[in-house]
């Protein structure tokens, strides 16, 4: 039982991180109808920027306080993501308005290639580490209930807390601010939003910026867990089942989907993996999402798809 709970909690933590990446997909899809395959490349780009700036800043300015250096690096990486978001809107999306979904999907794949190349040209292509001072030591919980307690990684708990905080922040932003309301209006209907004077182009820049910040946060967390390297881009592929499970248009869906996928992956790997040779994590999530889609084609919380001739 203790082992089961341990796996479950590990799955929930991992799921929280997946939903963080998934959030980036959902934000952009909601606002502009673009399925952004470049999210993984954005995570890599942001993490590379963050890692290198936090390495360079003590050298440039002589600040050797870890917290201050990291904060400055975070801000600079954020600025980088803003510039990237603005360029993407200006150079790509603006010219591709009203194209089909497949064309836009391919365009974001092109952006992904470009960002991967650019990030590695600017910041180098070795493995870097981000040290934001997260404690790495595991802690034991519920020792009174089970013998030996449950092993939980402190780093995971903090990461999950950050992810949860970001989600709350984003929902407040979407629900309570004027810009958030404009974003939701654009998501509902482009033309109607434009006709009441909401500037579409600016909204797109804002939403890509928000997605950039989400990418930065997830890049920071994943980067400090695994090291900043090229394989960070595959995280986007890991997060895709989360998005379709939760529904492409739903923020709560991304969270819940992330948790389901995280738990499903871990439990399947532990209890099912040994029978089929292990390593099933990566496709199990997809198959789980696929089976789910057979019953609800629009995902958990997605808008109901109505076909009209």
């Amino acid at each position: 039982m203790a082992f089961f709970l341990e796996t479950l909690i590990g799955g929930l933590m991992a799921g929280m991180l997946y939903s963080l990446v998934a959030l980036g997909f959902v934000l952009i899809y909601k606002a502009s109808g673009v399925f952004n395959f470049a999210q993984g490349a954005m995570v890599l780009f942001a993490a590379l920027a963050m890692a290198r700036f936090s390495e360079w800043i003590p050298k440039w300015t002589g600040i050797d306080n870890l917290v201050v250096a990291n904060l400055i690096a975070f801000a600079l990486a954020g600025v980088c993501m803003f510039v990237v978001a603005w360029l993407i809107e200006r150079l790509v999306l603006r010219h591709l308005v009203n194209q089909e979904g497949a064309t836009l999907l391919m365009a974001t794949l092109g952006i992904a290639y470009f960002l991967e190349g650019l990030g590695q040209t600017l910041f180098g292509s070795d493995i870097y580490k981000i040290d934001v001072g997260m404690p790495k030591d595991p802690i034991f919980m519920l020792e009174s209930a089970f013998q030996g307690g449950i092993l939980v990684n402190k780093e995971d708990v903090i990461a999950a807390a950050i992810a949860a905080a970001l989600v709350v922040l984003l929902s407040v932003f979407f629900q309570k601010t004027t810009t958030g309301r404009a974003l939701r209006a654009v998501a509902d209907d482009h033309q109607a939003a434009q006709s009441i004077g909401i500037p579409l182009n600016r909204i797109w820049v804002i939403v890509w910026c928000v997605a950039g910040v989400v990418a930065l946060v997830s890049g920071m967390i994943w980067g400090s867990k695994l090291g900043v390297q090229f394989s960070l881009t595959t995280i986007a592929l890991r997060a895709l089942p989360v998005v379709i499970l939760g529904g492409l248009t739903s923020v709560p869906g991304a969270i819940l989907g992330g948790l389901i996928i995280g738990v499903g992956e871990k439990l399947s790997e532990v209890y099912l993996g040994p029978f089929v040779g292990g390593g099933i994590e990566i496709w199990f999530a997809y198959v789980l999402a696929l089976v789910f889609l057979l019953f609800r084609p629009q995902g958990l919380f997605g808008e109901k798809i109505i076909d009209r001739v």
């Binding site: 391919m106 092109g110 590695q120 895709l240 001739v309």
Partner: protein, 358 residues
């Protein structure tokens, strides 16, 4: 001037409905085939065969398969790499387990394996559409990656799924020289392209296109969505599977599951979109573009940078390659979202009317 159809009167329904109704087109295609079958073997070097011609021919074949599914039936698929892998490993299994099996049956059997796999993973398309389906087809990709790495029986108990084949034979002749390999792949391509072209001109092709344009409307006028979608998956994955078998057997010789990663799926989709969705011709253009571009960049980029006095490292070249590749794709999608095939047909239209604008 030369490209006119004046005076070419069709006297029978058959003549009116042939693939190339204009005489000049037939002459052009005949010349093109002559160049491909006779001209290339006279001129090409071994390097050109291995790096450009054979990959181009096999990738065109795969692109035709992807185009049937994505361009004609409108089902976006990111699992093409998996279909290629199943074709390759399926053919390998038959080739190893049946001693002395010639190449052609092995390739066809590999295609049939891919077809079964494609139908299985095409089943979700009956419920799920559009981008959801695109993601769902990734399941096929990751499943096949895992399957050929972990299930030892499928790779004849070889470590980490890397296998190799030797002693290929076609009609009793050994297939060893690059020229022979090229001619063999080209023959397969020509046959399959002809079959595919006729398929999409026929009743079933029209059903696919109706499903693509609006599946509910197609169902209302009596087209069975299940039959149409699954047949598109079957035909497409059969062709992609054959391409996969050729890629593995003829081009690579020895390979591992990573040769058919999700990267290949993306590239195939690029080929189809850059070449032109819903056009057999587009597959060729797209394949040529995607196969030649990285090689050209690799070759000319360092020299080009030298002109500006910038030395560029090997890693730098590969990063610049990624950037240029990505940038060109985006640029292409912006400038001509309907692909190179559209440019081709526009050019033809203009030539027909020349020198008048309308």
């Amino acid at each position: 001037m030369l490209y006119r159809e004046n005076g070419q009167f069709k006297t029978s329904y058959r003549a009116d409905q042939q693939i190339f109704p204009i005489t000049q087109d037939r002459v052009f295609i005949g010349l093109l085939l002559a160049v491909a079958f006779l001209g290339v073997p006279l001129l090409a070097s071994d390097y050109l065969y291995a790096s450009i011609f054979i990959p181009f021919v096999i990738m065109s074949l795969a692109a035709i398969g992807v185009n049937i599914l994505v361009g004609y039936c409108g089902q976006i698929s990111l699992g093409s790499g998996a279909f290629m892998a199943v074709g390759a490993y399926g053919a390998y299994n038959f080739f190893v387990r049946i001693p002395g099996l010639p190449l052609i049956p092995a390739v066809i059997l590999g295609g049939l394996c891919a077809m079964a796999f494609g139908i299985l993973f095409g089943l979700p398309s009956l419920r799920v559409k559009g981008l959801y389906l695109a993601v769902a087809t990734l399941a096929a990709q990751f499943f096949s990656d895992w399957m050929f790495l972990r299930i030892k029986w499928l790779t004849n108990d070889s470590a980490s799924g890397s296998v190799s084949v030797t002693g290929l034979q076609v009609l009793g002749l050994p297939l060893q020289s690059p020229a022979a390999k090229y001619l063999f792949c080209l023959s397969v391509l020509v046959v399959v392209a002809l079959l595919a072209k006729n398929l999409v001109r026929g009743a079933i092709g029209r059903e696919w296109m109706a499903i693509r344009d609006m599946d509910v409307a197609a169902a209302v006028i009596g087209i069975r969505p299940m039959y149409a979608k699954l047949s598109a998956f079957a035909v497409s994955s059969f062709i992609i599977g054959m391409a996969g078998a050729l890629w593995a057997f003829v081009h690579l010789g020895s390979w591992e599951p990573a040769a058919f990663s999700v990267e290949i799926s993306f590239r195939l989709l690029f080929m189809v979109i850059i070449g032109g969705l819903g056009s057999i011709m587009g597959g060729f253009f797209g394949a040529a573009f995607i196969v030649v571009l990285p090689i050209a960049l690799n070759r000319f980029l360092p020299a080009f940078m030298d002109l500006f006095g910038v030395q560029i490292s090997t890693a730098g070249v590969s990063h610049a390659e990624l950037m240029i590749f990505g940038g060109l794709i985006v640029w292409f999608l912006i400038v001509e979202p309907h692909g190179l095939a559209k440019l081709w047909s526009m050019g033809k239209q203009k030539l027909r009317l020349w020198p008048f604008p309308h």
